[in-house]
Structure formats: C-alpha cells, structure tokens
Amino acid sequence: MTHNKDRVFWAGNETIAEAALRAGCNFYAGYPITPSSEIAALLSLRLPQTGGVFLQMEDEIAAMGAVVGGSLGGAKAMTATSGPGFSLKQENIGYAIMSETPCVIVDVQRGGPSTGAPTAPAQSDIMQARWGTHGDHSMIALTPGTPAEVYRETVRAFHLSEAYRTPVMLLIDEIIAHTTESFDIPTDEDLGPIHPRTWYQERYGANSFRPFHDFYQGKHIHITGLSHNERGFATTTPAIIQRGIEHLVNKIELNQKEIERNDTYMLEDAEIALIAFGSPGRASKEAVDIARAEGIKAGLMRIITFWPFPTATIRELVDKVRAVIVPEMNMGMLRGEVERAAMRRDVQLHGVNCVGGVPIEPQQVIDKIREVYRGL
C-alpha cells in the first residue's frame, strides 16, 4: 500500500460536508435532525474558517427559505435534512424550482411515514424527492452508493444545480451516512474544474425562464413563485404559463444524457439483472459474486442519477435479460419505476423489500436470485 496524503477515513456525512466545501459551497442553513446531524455540525466548524455562512434556523421551512435567499445573494448554498424535515422543506423546494434558484438539498433517508423509526436506514423518500412539492416540474436527484462516489456526486450536485438553475437532491441512506471507510479524495484533474457562478451565467444563460442574474448586479430583477414571463414578472396568460412549466420540465428531461449516471457490474451476459441504488447496491454486488460462483449469470445496474429516471437505459437492459430483481429499503418505489420503464415487456420482475430499519444483506439478495433462477 502506498502512502497517500489524500487518502481519508470518513463517514458519508463527513464526506458530504468536505466535498461541498471543495465544490465552493459557502452557505449552509439547516435545522437539527438525525441522521443528517454531522453535516451541520461539521459545516458549523468549517464554513466560518473559509469565510462562509452557517445558519441554524428556527425550523426546516426557514432553513430552506434561507438557502434560496442565500443563493439569490450569490452564494453556493446547501442544506441537509432527513425524512420529516424533508417533508417540511417541500414548500420552499417548490419555490426554488419555480424561481430557478440553484441550491443543493441533502436528504439522509430514515424510515417513515411521520417520525417513523429514527434513525434507522430506509430509502423511502425517493418518490418525495421527485413529487414532494406540489405542481408539475422535473427533478435532479443523485443517489451515490460508495464513499468516493458520495464525494464526487456532492460536487456534481452543485455543478448540476448551477448549470440547470434548479435545486438538486442528494439522497443517501443512513448506512452510507454513518459507515466510515477509507477512500482516495478525487484529484483536481479527476474532479474537473470548480466554476464560479458567473461561469454558469455565461454558458447556461439561455437555460432559464427568468433573467439569469443574482441580486445586486444592477439588473433590478424580480423573482416570484407565481407563474411568470421571461422577464420574471407574474402572468396570467395561459400560453406563457404553459411555456414556463414546459421549460421547467424540458430543461432537465431533454438533457438527461448529460445528467444520467449509472454503474454496471457483470451485466454483459447476465440472465438475471439486479437494479439497485444506495447501500442495497453494495449488498447486491456481493450477491452477484456469489451467484456467479454458483454458475448463475447475474449482473447489477446501480443507479447513481435516480431522477430524471434512466428509463431508456433500463428498457434496453430489460430486453436483454430474463428476470429483474430490485432490492430496496422501501416497499417497491424503484420497482414501480422499473416496471414503467419495462412497458409490459415479457420479463419477470421481483423485489427484495426491507422496511424494518435494518440494511438489506447479501444473503437476502442471493436467496431471491436462487429462487428466481430455479423458476426460469
């Protein structure tokens, strides 16, 4: 083993805080909630050191409002929360979508509904990430599964939020948040350049349905959560309202190729495909190894960009395999999306669903693989 000063031993929450600073984050507003607490604690220490702002607000709603306000003031802003807090934030997440204000929202998922099982792991916020706020819109949500990936995807979340002028969700589960592992911090070359806000304004200026400026730039812009015209002012003209909503959807959906990211493992000749995200992706990978040793041709697709959903990629995959198994820590949220992507193709679709607040273990996945294999 070679010595490497950039090799670290961090838990997921710690990684998110440090990666956010690397991405240029200089504004955090939050409210105490587990299992996301360490992100706020670490940033309360680190942000003032780097000239940034740390705010602990009076509630989750206020924290999300402050993040949007901070972003409009020119800051690279983020917040972090968990289940119940994520529910409360939805109002102002909708505002960030409508007003096209870049920001990053971390949700360290725990079980629900309501207070649920704090602070045991779950993956049941994935639909709330997509549809939690009212009204039509698209969404970018990233679901990294390994420590180095958490780092990379945190940085990418800031990049995507500024490029597409939209809130970006970074969803991890409690296992990833609290599992401490060693990994190499990506190099500058590996990570790509970190850009200031002005860089995005110059390159992506047309990708907005309101003037593409922050406050205090001499432009006297108006920002509203009302349906608005291209100048940013409220409108009641149906054609303009329609165009505005289509813009919010299309600016993301039509650029899916640039946003989508998946990881595949032994899928080339697979008869049984596992599709997973987050920590069940790791249990699935181990299960694939066990299955292969037994002569079962299994493979894994691990979703890293959950929204917009990799529909076309999964449709292609489903055409090549005989069965699909979806291990996830909810009652079938991902499986439902896979089913939609498969469009009634002749393929078996199975789930491994764990909602008891414990991780999915490789044993559960391999048991399901064997069962499905026998029935093929």
């Binding site: 220490l45 206020a62 020119g74 800051a75 406050f215 108006h222």
Partner: protein, 300 residues
C-alpha cells in the same frame, strides 16, 4: 415640491392589483420616500415579501425584488442578508402573513436582531383570500370565517416583537403618511431588527362586514383610535380601551446585531486556523533532522 416616484416604480406593470382606496399604496409610497431620503441606491436594496395583498408590493418597485412563499419572507430575507450583509434588506408583509403562518419566523428574526427592516401592514383581515379572520382581527368582528363574530383573541404585534427582542419597534397608520415615512426611515436607519406596524384599511373585506364600507371613513376611524405615545403613557386603562399607541415604542442600541456577530465569529474561526497552522509549523521546525532519512514517511 412633489416627490417624484417615477424612478422608483415599474410603471409598465401598472395598474396594480389593490382595490381603490387601499392603504397599502400609502405604506409603499412612505417606504419609497424613506429609502430616498436615506440616500439608498436601488441596486443595493433587496425588497422581500411573502404572499397576500401587501406582498404584491415588490412587483411594482424598481429594485431587487423577491416575492416568496406565504409567511416565509423573513427566512429568505435572512439568507439574502447573510449572503450580502452590506446590502439593505426590507420586508413588507401583511398581518396574516407575518403573525399567523410566519409568526415563528417573526419572533426568531426579532431574537437574532438581524439588520432587516420589517414593515407589517396590519389591516386586521386576510384580504386576498376573501376576508377570513386573522391573528389581529378584533374580538367580535365579523369575517368570512367568523359569521357569528370573532372569538379569537388578537396579537399586539408591537408588544410581541418587543418581547421577542426586536430593537426598533414603531407603530403608525395610513392616515398620516408623513409621520409614517419618519417611522419607517427610523427603522431603516436602525442597525438591528426593526419592526414598523402600520394600521391600515381593508374596507373591501373587513370594513364592509363591520360597518366601515367606505375607505375614507374607515381610515378616519383608524386614525381616531390612534394616540401618540407621550399621551398614551398618561392615560388610564379605561381611556385606553379601543385605542392604540403610535410612535417609536421601543428602541435599544446596545444589543449585538446578528451579521456583525457572525462576522466576529468568522474572524475568530480564521484566527484559530492560523494559530493551529503556526503551531504545526513550529513543531515541525523543532523536530531533529535525521541523517539520511527522507521526508517521506515509511511505507510499512
């Protein structure tokens, strides 16, 4: 000479949505005059609101304007102020917006004493949604959701914000725009969280259900119950009944302002980093140099 509002308004966005005779325009004009008399440049003002009739004000003024979600204006304003503390942030909100759904944000903004000016237009009713009773609707008053009379006790917003820690609290009314301008100007010039409550009229939703359907008459009624603070202090409880005090009700200048406190915290954090780096460098320099040993640690 008449004040020229032309430079301050987005005249292409007129006509505004407010009912003829509404008091909000008087408040907005008073605020604009206060800004100009303080020599504020429009580029350096962030004008923030929530949802409701009052909250439509930012749409009509030519500066950096932010029309946010219901009750949450102060949360956006706090983020905006912290991201750019050298700029002026003014919030304008109604009574329902600031005292009901936004009540938590109001008291916590007072507590922080962040340098924001909060103008509350109190017309004692939810106007935009059709005249439901608000946290400041008087007892017994009729409202769309109080057909038998309102039984909810109301807030005294000035007492509330003083108790919560605001360092400038004033009350005025829409019958005297000159005096109102002075109160607002005092709040804008104050370093800390400033609240100016403005008693205003909603003849459309409040007045017509409560024997004051005429705007001019309702404004006169509002003015007739106002008592200058100097006189108020000498009145008996019986004399005070149904009346309210106006003027600068509270002002303190020795409480730390939040942006300044945070700036000091930043300086302290950075000083500690510099100290630690210096100590590490000193410790490194003290280490004995070993003959032939490289700088790189062992790979074992």
């Amino acid at each position: 000479m008449a004040f020229n509002y032309a430079n301050w308004l987005r005249q292409d966005l007129m006509p505004h949505i407010w009912c003829p005779g509404c008091g909000i325009g008087i408040v907005l004009k008073s605020a604009i005059r206060a800004m100009e008399s303080l020599g504020w440049n429009q580029d350096t003002i962030g004008f923030v609101s929530g949802i409701g009739c009052t909250s439509r004000a930012p749409g009509y003024v030519d500066m950096n304007t932010l029309h946010t979600t219901h009750g949450r204006a102060l949360t956006f304003a706090t983020g905006l102020k912290m991201a750019a503390p050298d700029k002026n942030v003014v919030v304008m909100a109604g009574d329902g917006d600031s005292a009901a759904i936004g009540g938590n944000h109001l008291i916590h903004s007072c507590r922080r004493n962040i340098n924001i000016t909060m103008i509350i237009v109190n017309n004692e009713i939810y106007g935009m949604t059709g005249g439901q009773f608000s946290p400041t609707t008087p007892g017994g008053a009729r409202a769309a959701t109080a057909p038998y009379g309102n039984i909810d006790p109301g807030f005294d917003l000035c007492k509330l914000t003083i108790a919560a820690g605001a360092t400038y609290v004033a009350r005025g009314h829409v019958a005297n725009g000159i005096y109102l301008e002075r109160l607002i100007k005092g709040g804008m010039a104050h370093k800390g969280f400033a609240v100016i409550e403005v008693m205003s009229n909603c003849h459309t939703q409040y007045g017509r259900r409560n024997q004051h359907p005429d705007p001019a008459e309702l404004i006169e009624h509002i003015a007739s119950n106002a008592v200058m603070l100097t006189k108020w202090d000498k009145m008996t409880p019986e004399e005070k009944s149904g009346k309210y005090p106006i003027g600068v009700l509270h002002k303190e200048t020795d409480k730390p302002e939040y942006c300044e406190s945070f700036y000091k915290l930043q300086q302290h954090a950075q000083e500690r980093v510099r100290d630690a780096s210096r100590k590490i460098a000193e410790a490194e320099a003290m280490k004995p140099k070993r003959e032939g040993a490289g700088g790189e640690p062992s790979e074992n």
